[in-house]
């Protein structure tokens, strides 16, 4: 694609046109050769959107809640983008639910944009791609970005933590506060939502979460709210939106927003350096060479440590050879 076409895509994306925007997001996800110029342009214009991460165990009703949150924000007059991070099957390599059948009721509203991302790529790949997708949506003018993850594992937490604020969604059956602590959720939650609160045990679950929160050493002045919701009926959704906005005001007033965004960028920079180093390694050591070394490990002729050292050495030699040419 000639440069003027790239420039055209960039300026139309920044203007918020939907078709170029969708294409720009595909460039980012697929690491298109021209994605760099696009991302640079978007990064410079980003930082205005408030990014909210939504995480919690499978089955907590996150997609339904996100749909309702988007509607609530729309009725407040804010534009909303939804980034739904779907799991990749290790075998099929694709996003499972595509563009989220449950979010159809948002379709047709020009103030809403929904994007599914497959969880793909090694290392920081997913968190980096999520942050980049959010940069593009941010630069395209969306005021609130809802980042929904599927699981509650380490990499989902990393994705949720690319956001400015994180809500953890549980259900009454999610067990006592200890279960939530086990999953490492207590420390990342800025807001808790007990969804499906028309089921038995919702008050007890909220109480358990509040008790567990009180056991923590306080790390900020922010008192993490624990709210009940029945997303399928829209109950409790406005309250949640109000809590997010309170948290945004809290962060903005105390310098916390700047600190968090700096941390996010630091992590992102580290992830990008790692990705680039791995790409350089793959350039220097062929797949056949790596397979041969693996064969030696499988036959117990080398240990993993020795094999890793030899591969590193090989890559370094070729670096040097390239320099001395």
């Amino acid at each position: 694609m000639p440069d003027f076409a790239v420039q055209d895509l960039i300026s139309r994306t920044l203007a918020g046109e939907r078709v170029p925007l969708a294409r720009a997001l595909s460039w980012v996800e697929n690491e298109h050769p021209q994605a760099g110029a696009l991302l640079d342009a978007c990064f410079e214009r980003s930082g205005r959107a408030f990014r909210i991460g939504i995480t919690g165990p499978p089955g907590a009703g996150k997609s339904t809640l996100v749909t309702q949150l988007a509607k609530a924000y729309r009725s407040r007059g804010e534009t909303v983008a939804v980034v739904a991070v779907d799991p990749t099957s290790p075998f099929s390599g694709g996003a499972l639910l595509g563009d989220r059948v449950r979010m159809v009721e948002l379709a047709g509203d020009p103030g809403v944009f929904i994007r599914s991302m497959a969880t793909r790529g090694s290392m920081g790949g997913l968190a980096v791609h999520t942050a980049q997708v959010c940069d593009v949506l941010d630069a395209a003018g969306f005021q609130r970005i809802l980042i929904e993850t599927v699981g509650v594992g380490q990499s989902e937490l990393e994705v949720a933590q690319t956001a400015d604020s994180t809500v953890v969604v549980l259900v009454p059956e999610s067990g006592d506060g200890v279960q939530a602590m086990k999953a490492g959720l207590m420390e990342i939650a800025d807001v808790f939502a007990i969804n499906k609160a028309d089921r038995d045990g919702a008050d007890r679950a909220a109480f358990a979460v509040r008790s567990a929160l009180e056991l923590r050493a306080p790390t900020s002045e922010w008192v993490v709210p624990v709210e009940l919701a029945v997303a399928s009926r829209g109950q409790g959704v406005d309250t949640l939106v109000e809590r997010f906005e309170e948290h945004l005001r809290f962060l903005s007033a105390g310098g916390g927003l700047e600190r968090r965004r700096r941390q996010r960028l630091a992590q992102r920079l580290e992830d990008m350096v790692l990705d680039a180093m791995w790409a350089a390694f793959e350039d220097r050591v062929s797949d056949a060479e790596r397979q041969a070394m693996l064969d030696a490990v499988v036959r117990r002729e080398a240990t993993p440590r020795q094999a890793a050292e030899r591969l590193m050495h090989l890559a370094a030699e070729r670096d040097d050879a390239a320099l001395l040419d």
Copy 2:
């Protein structure tokens, strides 16, 4: 520590002595300077144990099930090691539940060894450490190694997949098969356990999982069994053990065990190379330099991509300088 003391620790670990073994495992987890020699010795002697990964959402009763599985294996005359991978709080950095209060009933049996690991470290760190800890336990003579993870996220799946065989534990409330598919569990499960099956909906949950399994394209001759269990009362545990052993026989007969172990080692080698590259980068580019680059990104004077490129360039220059000295 002089070399003869290292040799002593290694030979006593290989002999299965518990105190040296515990110390050896701490070396591995803490990346002790002498851990390499220990790991090399253990790797050469490893490959005899059957490693079983146990994963599933928080609250599925995995710890209780693992305790019962260990007891069942003991009554079959096998020695058992349990590796419980606990989440690290992003703030506290420690394992939450220490040595697993619920497993006290296994204490005192010399044929059982229990080890908790904190989920720590960048990138592949956790999966690599888990595999190394298993190598040591394997070399120390434990015949079955149960690797329990807490969450169901990507990095927990990676840990579970350091095993030869993986059981996914759900509860009747885990929702329909689609929820399990969303979490990427369908593709990694060699065996499903519906725990707490004395609750309502256990049969329905098992049916849903079986239906979801039937929707998959078959990837092997192995028919993934879905078993009900009530681990707290020991029900269904012997059946699960029998299924694991059947899967082991299936894998061994068809060459699948070799293929899987080769895949595991390939991943491990990649993770180790990445770790080593990052360490080399940190040697070459100071923290102050990285912070200065981050400042530029925060001020939008550089984009993340430009900053990553400059940092890589700096590291490469210093590599070259070291060579030309």
